[in-house]
Symmetry: C2
Subunit: 204 residues, 2 copies
């Protein structure tokens, strides 16, 4: 498809732009462009407008760095949330995932990534300093580390833990074990070992 | 993800719009929206503009109904193409596929679909009448039917053939047989039967 001859330069330009999106190949880009061609003009305009408006209008919360429409996000502004509890996550999707559990009533701190020397991401590229500052200002009693259990996540957890040692804040990490509906025999050794070591009293 | 709480209404609107595209689920839509949030504002504007410009500016060729930027497409306007040869295809992608072979020097006629009673598509929804009219006006010596070898494609082929019987135009259909690099033992009976029946002198 790379050398495809387009009979319309406008179509070609649109396909090229759609093709720039991650995970969208040239065939899918063409399919999407032709789909849009068959839609009402107003529908295509609505799509285009929503993208530009989002890019121009979205803010990052001054406190937790979550995506929001104002200076502070809805979660940080909500007086019913427990402000003494801060859950550290990698990105915005993780906030959504935890919110979807409807089990958490505290606040968040979005790092914007994890420490990954391979990708050239160091602590200063992340919102770690602002987390330490947030804890220093008082009011936070517990910091919950909720990063993915990868090497990068573990490294970041440890870095944050060391940084927070000077404060007296309680630092916890989300439980690691066997996922709901997973089969024991197919669970990897590390997970199974951790699940055994981290066993809790039954019925608790 | 259906009940995902978005912390930004602008993000939510953009995800909703992207999610309307065929084959793009809510998770992919969110991923794409967050990707666009990380891009330069100019890049997002370029994408949005290319979509709207395409939808507003694209024409359909008056002669062959292919997508183009003007009243007539580049292929129909090209004096070096054999205007006595018209290849009937289902859609724009098929024109591209045939052009990519670089084996065809004639013109096209894009039907815009195939007859499919199940989908409520009848002959009057397609550019069949305009094909007959085009042949009637003279200058066309051969009509090549190049629809997909499906039941709908075959039905449409037959319908067009009957419609063109009144004219003296030669009607041919593209060869059906075993595809390049396919293995004989895994070829279905219909294809293999047709390949045998349609055998040609070796070395031709």
């Amino acid at each position: 498809m790379i050398n495809t001859r387009f009979s319309s330069s406008l179509l070609e330009k649109a396909v090229m732009e759609i093709n720039r999106l991650p995970g969208i190949g040239s065939k899918t880009a063409l399919r999407l462009a032709l789909h849009l061609l068959r839609q009402e003009e107003g529908r295509v305009e609505a799509l285009a407008e929503s993208l530009v408006k989002m890019r121009r209008g979205v803010h990052y919360c001054k406190v937790c760095h979550n995506i929001c429409d104002d200076e502070r996000c809805e979660i940080c502004s909500n007086p019913n949330r427990e402000s003494s509890l801060v859950c550290v996550v990698e990105n915005v999707q993780d906030v959504m995932a935890i919110e979807n559990t409807m089990q958490y009533r505290g606040l968040y701190h979005v790092l914007g990534g994890v420490i990954s020397p391979m990708d050239g991401i160091g602590p200063s590229d992340l919102q770690i300093e602002s987390l330490v500052e947030r804890v220093r200002q008082g009011g936070v009693e517990e910091v919950i580390l909720a990063l993915s259990p990868t090497m990068e996540g573990d490294t970041t957890n440890f870095y944050i833990f060391r940084k927070l040692e000077e404060t007296s804040v309680k630092v916890t990490v989300i439980a690691r074990g066997i996922a709901q509906n997973d089969e024991l025999q197919y669970t990897d050794e590390v997970t199974l070992g951790r699940a055994l070591a981290g066993r809790v009293p039954f019925g608790k």
